[in-house]
Structures are given as structure tokens and as C-alpha cells.
Symmetry: C3
Subunit: 347 residues, 3 copies
Amino acid sequence: MGASLGELAVRFGCELRGDPQVRVDHVATLAGAQPGALAFLANPRYRGQLATTHASAVVLDAASVAAFSGAVLISANPYVTYARIAALLHPPAALPPGIHASALVDSTARVDPSAHVGAFAHIGAGAQVGPRAGIGPHCTLAEGVQLAADVQLVARVHLGPGVRVGERSVLQPGVVVGADGFGFAPERGRWVKVPQLGSVQIGADVEIGANTTVDRGAIEDTVIEEGVKLDNLIQIAHNVRVGAHTVIAACTGVSGSTSIGRRCVIGGSVGFAGHISIADDVVVSGFSMISRSIEHPGVYSSGIPFEEARIWRRMVAHFKRLGGYERRVRALERSVGLTAQKESDES
Amino acid sequence: MGASLGELAVRFGCELRGDPQVRVDHVATLAGAQPGALAFLANPRYRGQLATTHASAVVLDAASVAAFSGAVLISANPYVTYARIAALLHPPAALPPGIHASALVDSTARVDPSAHVGAFAHIGAGAQVGPRAGIGPHCTLAEGVQLAADVQLVARVHLGPGVRVGERSVLQPGVVVGADGFGFAPERGRWVKVPQLGSVQIGADVEIGANTTVDRGAIEDTVIEEGVKLDNLIQIAHNVRVGAHTVIAACTGVSGSTSIGRRCVIGGSVGFAGHISIADDVVVSGFSMISRSIEHPGVYSSGIPFEEARIWRRMVAHFKRLGGYERRVRALERSVGLTAQKESDES
Amino acid sequence: MGASLGELAVRFGCELRGDPQVRVDHVATLAGAQPGALAFLANPRYRGQLATTHASAVVLDAASVAAFSGAVLISANPYVTYARIAALLHPPAALPPGIHASALVDSTARVDPSAHVGAFAHIGAGAQVGPRAGIGPHCTLAEGVQLAADVQLVARVHLGPGVRVGERSVLQPGVVVGADGFGFAPERGRWVKVPQLGSVQIGADVEIGANTTVDRGAIEDTVIEEGVKLDNLIQIAHNVRVGAHTVIAACTGVSGSTSIGRRCVIGGSVGFAGHISIADDVVVSGFSMISRSIEHPGVYSSGIPFEEARIWRRMVAHFKRLGGYERRVRALERSVGLTAQKESDES
């Protein structure tokens, strides 16, 4: 196992400074590296660790070469190059093809012979499982689910009726895709359930984090386009569309029928109202409340950083008295004969 | 399958404008409908789609009749009427009565012969499962659980010891009801676990969304009253009571011993402090921090809508300097001989 | 069953006022207690209930003795004493040693004979399960997992490869420990998965609440130190460290590589940015956005309590116009010849 720096430089298109015969057999952090390890520098805050690392080689960019005296693989994108080398040095354990003796597969389901179906998995009527797909232990696939080639359901993933998952997508443990959307019609102080008849389409190369939920559509499908990455504990409501290559951090909720564009970057603990539309290439800071549509690319925020509680309480008290301050300013303006400026919506 | 418009008008008490012989066999959105489909108009923002829909009939209210030239079922509550017709046209697959061969049912549990127990389900000692209840694959019912008639546990639902679920309630995949509440007593910098000895009572016609958690009570029970609808990824702490017919949207957390009234409508990503009481008929906007009791019906909020980040940062900077502004206003008032107005708590 | 007040006073070091022969056999709330019950008073808001309780004895502190005429166990820390008596009177059902016939244990795993492995549990290659550990139904332990003595996995817990759990720790249903961290490197508008090669170390006496997720480290391990208590639906990202005896309430998210100190108390629905460091003994109020490191013990906040929506909307409108107000104050200062005070960051 392992690889020589010369091989890595050729394979991943890096410039090598150092002995091409040197071998690395695992990855490590700069601070934790021992000889034999390959490390990387992508976040400049760790540059100081170059002076003391014991790594046999470091992946970094041209601007950082001078800060390190050992062997380097120079890459325009050190983090991506590191990711590819790490995948080479640490290949995931291959799942054996075949269906575990304890799994239950409906007689009308079609499972490719190269696919893996793990312990206690349950695959419903008419489901289709593509080549090399890996279905971990305790997964439940309802009727009509379709998994494309190389899909990985790590463990205990639930897919509701008719859910389709594209090639190479990875669903982490605890994910629920295709539960009923939250649709209830009010009638005289009670709620009548609205049948949730759509399903969920998940594109290729999607990742969905642990215990995240993606609800089935009310009539048409909820859609997660290709390349989307969803972190843990995210809620995607019915009939949402998340555009290709968008990433969303943990604990964020997206309300029903909202559409998020392509290549967006959404922070954690964000909330999106329903029935709104977010443009492509939008960045939303963590803790933002997205209460209306966003039509243009850009960065958007609404979280307020913390303060010491005694200071914060005073700030909040001032905030709640703002109307009174405005009246006092107006009174002052009248008193000195100033005309109140037109109030500006922009701070 | 399918139904004629005449039959639907009679069954659901609608006025029909159009040919009573026309048949519909599925529901669709206005935009996506093809002939044979029944669509509906409840949200006025979609009214423009009436002009181009290919639906064979549309459910709408009297005010919208003039906007559509095709067959209509006129209802005072088109969304509820649509929901009922959708349930008629798309009945859920019936679960076969009986216990799946792979399920494990304790010898002291009582399962009604008309109930369905799915693959790999595990039913503990003394549990009771009522008529026509449906227990999906991978559900785990601890000892003493009681399910009333027609309860549906869709899949992979966990119910802790003694949890009771009322008639017709539906629990989506990943739900955990009756895990220990978060009770720890501090002692010299460590935490001593407080036994969580209560259980959870869930009323009739409740719905609980995917991966939502409802903790067991510390001594007495946590209570979810009849008709409550909880969305996905909600946390209900120990000894909370949620009043009948209240709905709560996703990602909201309710802290211990808090009581929420009847017919409340709670938005997503809301947080409730512990040991507070919320009146009946309260509406809470999404992203609100409910830090004290609410005694009167009304609408309550504390979220601030987003802005472009560069504008938002300036707003936050101003916010954090509010104390300074107040001092400047006071200095101005002194300077011009104005008496500071009494500060008002109300903006 | 049950115990006399005399026995309890001796065993738990309380002063007894009343008949030592009186027996109690269960715990109850002050309001709900019947004869035979032991109740406690820890939260002063319930002191009024002492006058009417039917409890046979009450645990309380010296300051409250005069408010109750019945038998009392006087404790400097009534909540801890109550917790210990409750555990004595209500011992959890003992899990029988041995491996359930339906469980699947890899031939290379080592399970202590005194441990319990429940129905449909799945234990992977090389896993180790310590003495008296309890693995509930539907748990999945990937290869190399190590459980120390007396660990309890209540039900349906998933532990990824190499996860280690310390003595006596309790993981509630739906917990996922050791799913892949959220690591993706951007490359030309797409995201390349960064292999997540670390694991998770969980110390002794930790509790993790239902459906909480703790991700595996990217290279080194994610670490939850001893005595930490995590509530439900919490997200702990890769390479986070949570210091010993820290408690975190529900719906909080901690971003990658952030370090939280020892003995911190973190409220619910809090969000922590990544790569920051929080000192020991920090208290964070619920709903706070922790966007930068905290170097000193103290209490920190950033949530704004709610108001009636019509009032709140005015406050937000004022907030968004703060820049205009500041300009008006400056104009007033110029007009009356006042020098603008130096703006203070502290309100």
C-alpha cells in the first residue's frame, strides 16, 4: 500500500519539490503527522504548523512553498488534491456483492447481482437497485424505490414509496427521504390531512447527512438536483427544489414549495419561508431568516453575534425603545428647526 | 376507479358547474394537470394558472368561479374539499392483517388480528395493538406500549415504555417517542441523572413528522393532545403539554414543562423556554424566541428578516452602538433645553 | 419494595424530621402525590404546593422546612437527593445477559457474557462489548466499535466504524455517532468529497439524546469528554471537542473543529461557528449565535425576546432605519454645536 511522491505528482498533476522515491501510506494533520504521513495546508491559519510538522510530504499551494523545507506537492487547489490522495490511500472497505441472509427482498424487486444488501435490510415491491449499489444494515426501501448505480445507503436509511436516487449519491445513517409532507387543511378549528401523493427525486452525486429529512411532494415531486450536499439534521419540506451543487449546513429548515438555486452556499441553522425562490449563486450566512425571495446572487445575513449577557440585555432594551428614540430625535429636530431627513431604509 | 363530477359534488357537498358525467381519476396541480385530472385553487397566487390548466375540473371557491371557463366544483373550503377528493381517488395501499414472519412479538403482547405488523418489527412485553393498526417495518415498541385503533407507525418508529397513542394517529419514520427526558441535577460540577419515570400520552388524530422526538416525562407524562400536528425534526421535552389541534412547523424546540395551548399555530425554528405557559389560539411566527409566557391570543414574533450582508453588518454595528446613540440624544436634549421624554417600552 | 424514611436518611445523608418508620414506595410531584409517595422541592416556584401535597415525605432544603408540616428529608441539594432516591425506588428493569436469537454478531466481535444484545442488533467485525453493556433492539455497530462496561444503547443507535464509548454512557434511540463529517472541497463549481477518516471518542458517563448526531473526524477524532450531557436533535460536527461535564440543550449545532470547554452550560437552538474555541465555565443562553471564540467564563447571549407581531414589526422597521437615525443625530449635533461623542461599542 502507499504511494511514492513521484506517482502522486503524476497522477494528480502536482509539481513535486523533493525526492520522488519517498513513500507515504496515510494522511495526517500537520500537527499530528509522523513520518510516512502526507499532510496538507489549505486553511492559512494553520501555516505556522509547517515549521514543526513531521509529515513526509505536504500538499500546499505555490504561495506557501517557501514556508516549508520538506517535500511538497504543489497544487493550485491543495484541499481537492488532498481529498483525492486521501481517497487513494484510504479506500473504503469494499462491500461484498449479494444479499445478506437476514435481508428481506420482495420477490418483485430487482437487485443487481453486483449490489450489496446488508443485514435486516427490507426492500419493497417493485424496487430497483442498480449495479454496485450498497445498502447498509437496517435500511428500509418502500415499494417502487429506484437506486441508480453506485448509490450508497450507509445504514438505517428509510426511503418512502417511489423515491429515486441518482448515481453515486450517499445517504448517511438515519436519513428519511419520502415521509409525508406537512400538509393539513384547516376546517373549523381542526386539520384535515392532505394526501401526500408525490415522491422525491434525488440526483447524482448528492450527499445527505445523518438524520436529515426530505419530505415527499404533495402532488408533484420534491427535487434535490445533482451534486447537492446536505449536512445533518436538515429539514427539506414537500415540493422544495434544491438546485445543483448547492450545499446546506446542519440544522437548516426549508419550508414547502421553496426553490433554492444552483451553486448556493447555505449556512447552518438557517430558516427559509415557504413558496419563495432563491437565485443561483446565493450565499446565506448561518442563523439567517430568509423570509422572502432573493433575486440576485450575493451574500445575505440576519444573525446578530452574541455579547456578554449583561451588555446584550442593555442592547435589547435599547432596541425595544427605538420608537421612543425616534420620537425624541424628531422633537429635537423640531426644536432646533431642522427638517427631519427622509427616513432611509438602508442603514 | 375514478369518480364522476356529479358523484363528487353530492358526496362532498359542492355546487357543480359543468357536466356531471365527466370523470376524473387522479389529482394534479393546475400547472401540471392533464385531462382526467382534478386540480384545485386555494392559494390566490396561483389564480393565473386557471387560464391555461388542462385539468378536467377544478375545485375552487365562489369568488374564483369567474376566472375559469371549465368544469368547477365550488366549495367554501376548496383545500379541504380537494384533500377529501384526493384521499378518495388515491386511497393508501391497504396493509394486510397479520404479523410478518420476521417480526418479534412478545408472548405477553396483544395484537388485534386485524392489525398489521411489518418486517423486523419488535413488540415488547405487555404491549397492546388495536384494530387495524399498522406497524411498519423496523418499528420498536417497548414494554407496555398501547396503540389504539387505526394508528399508523409508518416505519422505524420507536416508542418507549408505556407510551400510549390514540386512534388514527400517524407517526412518520424515525420518530422517537418516550426517550428519557433531559434531566440532570448538578452536584459539585458534575451531573447526576434524574430517573425519567413518566411516559408519553398521544391523543387521537395526531400526526408526528419524521425524526421528531417527544421525551417521556420525569414523573408524570408528557402529553400531546388530540388533533395536534407536529412537523419533522421537532423536539418536545419532558412534561410538555401541547394542546389539542395545535400545529408546529419543523425544527422547533419546546423546553421542559412548558404548556402550549389549544389551536395554536407555531412556525418553524421557534424555541420555547421551559416552565412557561402559552394561551390558546396563539400564533408564533417562524424563528421566534419565546422566552416567557403568553397570556392572550394573538400573533407573536422575534425574527428579523435578512438583508444583503454588507447592509446587515452596518445595521448590526448600529445596533451594538445604541447605548451611545441614546447618550447623544440625551446630551442634545440637555443642550437645547428639552426634557427627555419618558422612555417607552413600546416602539 | 419501598424504603423507610429512616433508611433513606441514613443512606443519603439527610436530616429527617418525622417518623423514621414511615415508608415510601414511589416518587411523585408535590401536586400529584398520594400517600406512600415521596416528593421533592427544588424549584421555589412550586413552594406553594407544600401546603396541599399528600406526599408521605418531601425532600427539601433547610430554608423550606418551615413551609411544610409533614415528614421531611432535609438535604443541601434536594434535587440530587431526590434523583438518588428515585433511582433506588424505581430501578430500571435489568436486561438479561446474552445475545438475542435474532441478533447478528460478527464472528470476530467480542461480547462480554454479561452483556445484553437485543433483537435485530447487528454487531460488526472486531467490535468489543464490555461487561454488563446493554445493546437495545435494532442497534447497529460497525466494525471496530468499542463499548466499555455498563454502556447502554437504548434502542436503534448507530455507531460507525471505530467509535469508542466510555463506561456507563447512555445513548438514546435514534442517535447516530460516527457518520461522515460534512467535508467537501470546492473545485470549479462542484464539490469533491473529502474522505472522513477519523472516528469518535465518547468518554465515560456521557448521555446523548434521541436523534442527536455526532460526526466522525476528518483525520483525527471527534471527542466528547466524560460527563457531557447532550440533549435531543443536536448536531456535533467533525473534529469538535466538547469538554468534560458540559451540557448542551436540544436543537443546538456545533460546526466543525470547534472546541467547547469544560463545565459549560449551552442553551437550546444555539449555533456555533466552526474553528472557534470556547473557554471553560461558559454559559450560553438559548438561541444565541456564537460566531467567534469566547476566552473568558461568563454568560453570553444573542437572542431577542418576542413581542406582539404588530409591535415587533415596528421595532424591526426602526432597526433597519438605524443608519438614518444616526445621521439625524449627527446633523442635530452639528446644528447645536455639540461635538459628536466618540461612538462606544458598548451599549
